[in-house]
């Protein structure tokens, strides 16, 4: 499904990812973990094409995406919820959701109804500016916006940041449901262990721009946690 082979990534002169390889299976739920600044977001951005790969290769859904542009990703079914929400502040909630309706993957050309079932608050706020929403509301909007594309692969960067507990539960359920019912591949960066354990099937632990441990979620022992997630 997603295959990274010895990818290096740099910001200017500083190398962040070092010879990183990763293989994510179709329909799986993968959780990427690691301390602040180890390069999780960088990894996701690399997958999204937001940072051009300096060396190595990336294959998504059988397409070679090492050089492909960002716009290609949604077309081949990748949805992205970035860290920091990145809502279009001056667009209304509705417009935020409508952005990707023109994408060739989206046949209906209207915002799918189930989105509002998942996040009723968005229905209420439909005509307010995205930038006016509270942090948590924006986060919900960001997830909803990615779902409008009806993606095969959903990439989420700390989706629970700033979200109230009952909605966190909701998001967990939604992710599990999408994965079960539609076979959506879920790639998640998460710091909070309970959520990671609840959603992830597989985990990858990162340290200094490299994946240093991977496996099934059960194998994520306290020892590993203590070694790589503690400060």
């Amino acid at each position: 499904m997603i295959e990274l082979k010895s990818v290096d990534q740099k910001y200017g002169g500083t190398q962040i990812l070092w010879d990183l390889s990763l293989d994510i299976k179709q329909g799986s739920r993968t959780c990427i973990m690691g301390r602040n600044g180890v390069g999780k977001t960088t990894l996701l951005k690399t997958i999204m094409g937001l940072l051009p790969i300096s060396s190595g290769s990336l294959v998504i859904n059988g397409h070679d995406m090492s050089k492909g542009s960002v716009e290609k990703r949604p077309e081949i079914g990748v949805g992205y919820v970035p860290q920091g929400r990145h809502i279009f502040p001056q667009l209304t909630v509705e417009e935020n959701l409508k952005i990707s309706l023109n994408c060739s993957r989206q046949p209906s050309k209207s915002i799918p109804k189930h989105i509002f079932k998942l996040f009723p608050v968005l229905q209420e706020m439909l005509h307010r500016r995205g930038g006016d929403l509270s942090g948590g509301q924006q986060q919900q909007l960001a997830i909803a916006r990615a779902l409008v594309l009806n993606p095969d692969i959903l990439i989420l960067d700390e989706p629970n940041e700033g979200i109230q507990p009952n909605i966190v539960q909701l998001i967990r359920d939604v992710l599990l449901k999408l994965n079960k019912e539609q076979g959506m591949t879920i790639i998640l960066v998460e710091q909070k262990l309970p959520f990671a354990r609840a959603v992830g099937e597989y985990f990858h632990l990162m340290e200094k721009g490299q994946v240093i441990a991977s496996g099934e979620m059960q194998e994520l022992t306290d020892q590993l946690v203590g070694k790589y997630l503690a400060v």
Partner: protein
């Protein structure tokens, strides 16, 4: 107005032509001797001669005078006769003999001597002709004639008007004729008649009427010390009231005038700024080459007129899409070639587009020469729509107001109703995220920049009708354009509209009392102060994120 008059008159020429074959009579010989004097008469002695010619009963008189006025009457040296001459394609002149009314072989300019006139004589001829045309069969010609005479009532044959008014069918012409008579009555009549004339003239707007009233009042005041009779004070009162009324009307129409001037200046500003609302307001490119996009539009109009010299009347209609394409295309090229490499460095776009503006200026200078290019105004753009004798709207301004609003609303539709509008705004607010949501940002950028530039090109077409088409055209508008966009609130189309109209109107209302320079300064200072009150313009972006 005069031009229409001449056109009408020419169309009536055929009527005179019918009478041309009349046999030579005694009066005709006198006519001929007068004509013979024309080539040798000095300009300063011309006026009485023209009067004499006009007094001739010969049916050729009007045509002759008309040609004399138009500067088409020549003296053919070789044949020692007067001819009507018109330049032809071969750089020679086609001739028609005045007396024999037959075409002669074309000759070069050196064989001819022009019968010269000046403004004064032409004015005289025009009045004389107007008197003659009062009995013309075409009502339009008669109307123009009486209007002409009204400007200069002293030159009017009162007797002929008194006669003609009885048979005149057209109400409007009759009315104007009666005004002429009333003015006469006011000047020459007894007190009672004067009073009657005043009461009938009240409410009219013609400046001539006012002048007559003022003159009368002056006459009255001058003679007042002799005896303050009852009638005189009554006359005085009536005159003052009538004049007061006229002045009041005048003031009212003056205000309307200013408003129109303001809106028209506003719409020019709007046109100039509106493309910038997109490239600068929405995309955030500090587009110093915006003015040059307008310039390209204006030059496109020029090229169109050069390419289709016979379609001047339609040239503007053709130029609008053409200018849109040319400027739009150049815009796309600029975006693809330069601006796209400056993503995330909006201030640098100032530098690059400034460079581009220099290059474009030099380009037209090299290609089209540094001189201004001549863009003609189609007939329908010249002249004015006369609403009453003291209030008229010039057509070019009127059309430009309408045109500016049309452009504005089309653009509004595109940005509000099409997905392009949404995508542009999304890209401008967060490029990466928009791309991650499948928007082809580079395409959107190119199209948007092209659209903004194209609209600037359209504005150039309009400007070509108002001002010089030269390499500096863009420079003259760039500062105003930025002011308007910022005053309205960056990114707000409505803001641009309101800002442009406000600035235009303010300027035009201030100008009469302050003079244009001071008015401009005051508007600028006002703008600076206004921004202190509303630091984000008239229609600011709102919300949490805008803080």
């Amino acid at each position: 107005m005069l031009r229409i008059f001449s056109l009408l008159v020419f169309s009536c020429m055929s009527w005179f032509a019918l009478a041309e074959n009349a046999p030579a009579t005694e009066s005709n010989t006198q006519f001929e001797t007068l004509l013979a004097q024309l080539p040798s008469t000095k300009l300063s002695k011309m006026a009485p001669l023209v009067d004499k010619i006009a007094a001739q009963p010969s049916p050729q008189v009007p045509e002759l005078l008309q040609h004399l006025m138009e500067g088409e009457l020549y003296y053919l040296k070789a044949a020692n006769e007067l001819v009507y001459a018109q330049p032809n394609q071969q750089q020679t002149y086609d001739l028609t003999s005045v007396l024999k009314t037959e075409a002669l072989a074309p000759v070069s300019i050196y064989a001819l001597k022009k019968i010269r006139t000046n403004n004064r004589i032409r004015g005289q001829i025009r009045d004389l002709l107007a008197n003659m045309y009062l009995s013309n069969s075409s009502p339009a010609v008669r109307l123009q004639a009486i209007k002409q005479l009204l400007d200069n009532p002293s030159k009017t044959g009162i007797t002929s008007i008194t006669r003609l008014i009885k048979t005149e069918q057209e109400k409007e012409i009759r009315e104007l004729m009666s005004v002429v008579l009333l003015i006469e009555q006011l000047e020459k009549g007894q007190t009672a008649e004067k009073l009657a004339a005043i009461s009938q003239l009240e409410g009219r707007l013609e400046p001539t009427v006012k002048n007559a009233l003022v003159k009368e009042l002056k006459k009255l005041s001058a003679s007042q010390d002799l005896s303050i009779s009852q009638d005189k004070s009554e006359l005085h009162k009536a005159l003052t009231r009538a004049i007061g009324q006229m002045e009041q009307d005048g003031d009212f129409y003056q205000l309307l005038d200013y408003l129109f001037f303001g809106l028209s200046m506003g719409s020019v500003l709007l046109l100039a700024a509106i493309g910038l609302t997109i490239t600068f307001g929405v995309m955030g490119v500090i587009n110093m080459a915006h003015g040059e996009m307008m310039m390209l539009g204006a030059y496109t109009t020029y090229v169109i007129q050069q390419t289709f010299p016979n379609l001047i009347e339609y040239s503007l209609l053709m130029a609008v899409p053409a200018a849109f394409l040319v400027s739009g295309l150049v815009g796309v090229l600029i975006e693809r070639g330069v601006i796209r490499f400056l993503k995330g460095r909006p201030l640098e776009t100032l530098l690059a587009t400034f460079g581009i503006s220099l290059i474009l200026q030099q380009l037209v200078r090299t290609v089209f020469s540094p001189l201004n290019r001549q863009v003609e105004a189609p007939q329908w753009m010249s002249g004015s729509l006369e609403i009453n004798p003291i209030f008229s709207l010039t057509y070019n301004r009127l059309y430009i107001i309408i045109f500016a609003l049309m452009v504005f609303f089309s653009l509004l539709m595109i940005l509000k109703k099409s997905s392009l509008g949404l995508h542009v705004r999304a890209v401008s607010q967060n490029r990466d995220m928009a791309r991650a949501l499948s928007i082809k940002s580079s395409w959107v950028d190119a199209i948007t920049f092209g659209l903004g530039s194209g609209v600037a090109g359209i504005a150039g077409v309009a400007l070509s009708q108002l001002t010089n088409v030269g390499p500096n055209l863009g420079q003259d508008y760039i500062i105003d354009s930025f002011l308007v966009v910022v005053f309205g609130g960056v990114g707000s189309l409505w803001g641009t509209l309101v800002a442009a109209m406000t600035l235009g109107t303010f300027n035009k209302f201030l100008e009469p009392s302050m003079g244009p320079v001071l008015a401009n300064i005051i508007v600028l200072v006002g703008l600076v102060l206004f921004i202190q009150k509303r630091p984000k313009g008239l229609f600011p972006q709102k919300g949490r994120s805008a803080e």
